[in-house]
Subunit: 253 residues, 8 copies
């Protein structure tokens, strides 16, 4: 039942063709999406200008390319995360404007105008092995319209490295911290900034790191109260939350 | 080494009483907190106006009262979380202005002026058993200066209840969602709002809820990308993050 | 917005007092529960005649009694599960017609007429220590209107006991099996009947039973494909599902 | 010892050729299956008309084809689950009437007459990644004689999609819900229907989804009491239970 | 249907009072226990002379005493494990001949003649904290008719203590080893003897001993291939298995 | 220090060439293996006639062949478990008398005379997928000199199959039961026999079977007290324990 | 067989009273402890001067006092860890010289001369809740003869506090770090010192700290390679290892 | 801000070109590494002469070679752990002086003079499967300048093997013990020596060894108080800690 069919029904009531009782019966069955629900959903994506996102893991290159092409046709920005080089080759064939961010394993294509300097946020990572997750966060955040400062290789066993980056961190409106192994970096960063810290445990480590569980538990038990946590290796989610935080603040003013 | 002792040293250099080489030696040993580090820490608490917080669990009523009194003497707002009625009785004796929020198990005392209408945020909870955690979040958020809208008893098994609260949710700049059992509510709320959602798993449940682990895992695996997670029953942390999000936005404008 | 306010609005359209555009605007905001949603919810409880249920664990006797009294006032059947003798004492004071099922830890009160012989179902338990959970299932099922056959103390280490009960099991339209320790009984029962088996792991056991986890895993991995599982000690849930199964079948005919 | 040999023995007693003591000795050794036990087993499969099922995972294509051929020779319907394309190629060579359901990874062959419109049931899945498990459930259910309504891609982060399917769900006599990640969909569906919900956790997800454990725990802790759970990815078991539920109801009338 | 009723039926056939067809029908319904099954069960307990055993944990003193009295009336030996001093007081009132083994938490009463020197077996424990479990094993084994050699306080951090007991170990036909913490003792003992070793993890320890799980895992992964494992703290089960081993050997000769 | 060097030393003392103080010093350093320790070790293998065993998993075919050849040269029986067909090809080249037991993945070679009819024991398995583990147990047990009765495909969902094998089970002096999934078979078998039952959880299953953990926990929590457990898939260990049990009994007579 | 009895035997050989063959037989049976083994054990405690230690948890005050008295009679230092005030009261009655260290829950008594300034070591703790474990480590270390520097309340969320203690840490020959929650402090301290760091996870925390497991995993996965770990709350073990490290170094020079 | 810029600033103050207030402002921003922090870091590596270490797992041969070459250019010793033969081939091409330790999977190159006989330490391993981890520890320890005694294949099921090595163990200033399966060896070794024992759980085992978790838990719960633990398979970390222990001792004298 679209806006048009409801109007038609109301016109029927007005004209007397439809009894109010029959109209009531029709309204009682009104599917929820017609009652404005789906519109809100739509409004949200329009208002936020968020790109469409494909989770490429477990999809064939052909499937990724097919979905990418269809989404791109809608005119918005398009992203594919966890995308292999093969997936990019397939996408590139149908969408030559698409770019591949290799470390981040992200395919992106911008079709919308881009406002500079929103944010900024910082994306911090403990070691070079955490880079793929950190880059997924950073690249996605940039496609979501944020200005991103990258701070890499600042593990807690060498505090001077993170301490020397305090000024960059201080300007960030949200800080994403990616760390594997013991996952201690978000606690340290959380003590240095007055902004929300989004901690991303990575599956980097071996033995009793249990594929990121040690880092995840470390972050959930952080002694810095400004730390929240997303799923293991979920760079995309961290970027999305950071965008929400920045937009939530911008919306107000 | 305080600001004064550094100035004194520089004066010595200026007057020629102290050689530059000796001054350099003194500076090389400069404890970090003296080099502005502790000041930043101080600046942050001053700028944010955050109250001092006591984690009362595992402390005797006398200990809580003692710390509370000392903190109150500093002139700022004071909070004690996870505080028993006995702890409040002890606090009340030394600080008659302190208030006890029973459901939230929070003792609070305001000494600073309070700006109305900051935020607002929403605190949502799935069932009445989640109320203590939700109230901890709500009361702490209020002491942190935020305007809080409470939305209670909106479990996912009766969707109409949460759907009827969409307008309240839409105005929130951050949404705290407390849920035990399967922890599904943050995913549903996350789909309804365009703001960051801070999910708080509660230890409510039995059997395979494993004291909140089921809810925690559910929230970490949320299909709504705007969801982040804090520790089980950590209402205080959720409120703190929400305050950081709101202040991070306000700082910009 | 109730049925009446919608009718009023439609009358306004019919009479010309309200434009169709304004009516459309009002409808777009229509809260979901008003659009028939809550009614369905209501229809369901009416059609099924299910009693209201209080989860008494973690509530004070006074709270249980208060809720019980309020629910009883609505005229339907009322149940409280996981209720202590103290809770019953408090309920009994306000509702002398309430009954306490001690082993099942259930307080019940019937106010609706009861149809005999619906079902039947069977409730089976492995050992006498599983009896509280089995009785919770059996008593709740009876309040939900089912005829219940109890089969107790039929552990798999003495097969002749369960084999001698095959005729009772064969008549059941659903079989609830409660077992702790290794949780093997549902698999054995599942091989004996041509009905759905609802397995309830109990927290009975010690050491590596991990409070029912061993039984839970055993049941999830059952080699009998007609076995489904509910949470540890969740006798109430098993009874509810059994009622759904029986009603689902009755609805059809 | 078959029915005939027992009769023979009794005739011997009657004619005096066999003493009652010797007959007693023979009876004391009577294997259980001869005493009617195996017959019940047989009766069940005959009465229910259930097909024979091969679990193809871990078997070579040749083994699957060999078992398939042998079972097909018995004249009933035959199913193989978790079957690869290679397994189907081998089966197809010996049984050209066999069909391959690719997404469901099921090979099936019908030899028995089929009654239309039994049930119906609904098979619901949260995302496209859950489709293989959902299709296994749907295809198996169809071979078990049920009418199946498929409802796909109705995750809880976009409630309007599941809400728009309420009428389809309302007609189902059992609802199978497949979901990975946080596993919240069964709770939401459970609140919308008055039928038993069989929840199937899928291994879809990453990080702290632990191969389906997060979804499994979510479902076991569902706040909707009409939800029961089967093993991770166990679409076959869910279909089997649904068939049992429908037949249990039909048997009665 | 007892032996007598079957004989009666056969006599009926012989005399012609009962047709063979009717006799066949009666036999087809023959409950399994009547077909010799229960007798085997009975034979076993008679042949082995095993006492009746009550698991007293979770039972009231009155319940333990009631069951104890009923079992004692049957004339066999009676045991109650995990029994408190209160339970013994209640038992003693109804059965003054009962004895309480305090460390083992076992109540026992012998009514059957006892053959000396069966076995022998050894019961070994690592530390004094493991004594309650070791004593449960030793006392139960003695009531099961075995001669028991106790070897206490022989932890692996002081090898000379266990090495000095090699001769006692060498004569044992089965060795029960109780150990908490790292559970290493069974591996060491297993290397010293040519007999089966029954390992009993105890819940002794703290922190990462996880209530006996560390010891359990250590024992399951023993590098000595003659080690098998029973549940945490299951001294009773270890004694029972040891009795089975000894009787299995004696039966042969 | 061999027997000879000790004698030599004592001769030196006797002849006066060596002072008693010097002799004492030498003796204080006496390595333990010389003091009879290693001899016991040696005696044990001689007395038991146990073959040498190679754990082939993780070794190259060449390594397996090399060790096999060296062990065979000592004249005893030789076994290699978890051996691939490639490993056998390599062994066969250097030892043409070696045999490959394909399902069991065992390479064996007998060089010692073999006594028939020792035991017997029974090896039982729940499903055909458990066969590799059961065959490892059976083949190893045969090389350890035992007579083995195999009982296959007797899952608990079809009790008549295991019940029809009761006579075979009754003669066994030890019963090895291999089962995956819920691991319920040892409990059922344990109730049918008066012998020790060695339960082997197998890694057969999927989802919440967690590679055999569900079966392991089920077996540890068995309600049949004559059940002990070895590690997941440890068919070798079960056979070894069974041999120990049989020999322990034989030793006595 | 003591040193004296061996000498006696050798004298017998020398004098010809004992044949060398008989002497050899006696030696072959030589219990291990007699061959110098126990002496080494004894030497070690003498050389190291380590006090005797009682683990008081799970022992009654009377038991603790009894063991304490007996040990004190031997003339060495005596320690009891995890001791309650009640246990101290009982000890104090029999040994008035004993001291109670309340926070550390340690009862100690020195009877041996004490060398000052051995070490030193540092004992660091993250928060005031970790103090009991840190004090157990510090007090035990002092009784083991070490000089201890305490550094308290230096959590990683306020780096300036730990940084200001760098000089104290730099002089330590071993550093014990006690931390609960995320357990990040040892990694940070490990980066600041060139000495071995012994990390002690504490059970401080709530929710997903799982009684110290989160801290334990964090420490095992430390990015500082000079970190080793002891059991949760094991302050005693950490002190013991620290003493071993210091003595191992001192022994060399 | 380098040493030079600070001197320049102080000269400005001295000459009057810079006011003391401005100088104070500059100093307040002073990055921490300039204040001597980084120097300490540098001093530490210089003083200890520790080689640079590359963790090669997850890096391409080209990446390993590139980093190796760059580090070697600095003139110190260089190590790469977890390095494949392919990685060595690539390193060898750019640094022909590099050596490959195959079992240890370590590439090393010495450029610094080496002092003999530091330590010594012992590296002990339980079985041949633990050799790769033990060799990683031994080889790394040698590059760190220690003398290493290797003790291999001394599992606890054959105590005479470890007992015969007591003299070698007694001379070690630290003992590294690598063991998989039940991880019992460190407890046994800990009882034999008066030095710190560093336990390394290995991932050797199957089934319930859970990739080294069983060994890890066993070691954390060791009854020998001189045992500390590092991560699973972390031979490098164990060697590093051993070097710290030896240097900590040497530093003192």
């Amino acid at each position: 039942m679209t806006r048009e069919t409801i109007l038609q029904m109301l016109e029927g009531v007005r004209s007397g063709e439809l009894s109010t009782a029959d109209a009531l019966t029709q309204l009682a069955k009104l599917p929820y999406e017609d009652a404005g629900f789906a519109k809100i959903d739509h409004h949200r994506s329009l208002r936020l200008g968020l790109p469409e996102v494909i989770y490429a893991a477990g999809k064939t290159p052909a499937q990724v390319a097919g979905i990418f092409e269809r989404m791109a046709a809608a005119g918005g920005d398009v992203l594919a995360t966890r995308a292999s080089a093969e997936a990019f080759a397939a996408v590139h064939e149908v969408e030559p404007r698409a770019t591949y961010h290799e470390t981040a394993r992200v395919i992106g294509m911008r079709q919308q105008p881009h406002v500079a300097g929103v944010g900024p946020i910082a994306v911090v990572c403990a070691g070079t092995s955490d880079l793929p997750v950190a880059e997924e966060a950073a690249v996605v955040a940039e496609y979501l319209g944020l200005e991103v400062h990258r701070v890499v290789d600042v593990g807690v066993a060498g505090l001077h490295r993170i301490l020397s980056q305090r000024e960059v961190l201080a300007t960030a409106r949200a800080v994403i911290v990616c760390a594997g192994m013991e996952g201690a970096l978000p606690s340290v960063v959380g003590g240095l900034v007055a902004a929300p810290v989004i901690a991303v445990p990575t599956s980097v480590g071996y033995g009793a790191s249990f594929g990121g569980v040690a880092a995840l538990l470390g972050m959930l038990n952080s002694c810095s109260p400004n730390v929240t946590v997303v799923n293991i290796d979920n760079g995309f989610g961290a970027a999305y939350v950071a965008a929400m935080i920045v937009r939530s603040g911008d919306r107000k003013s």
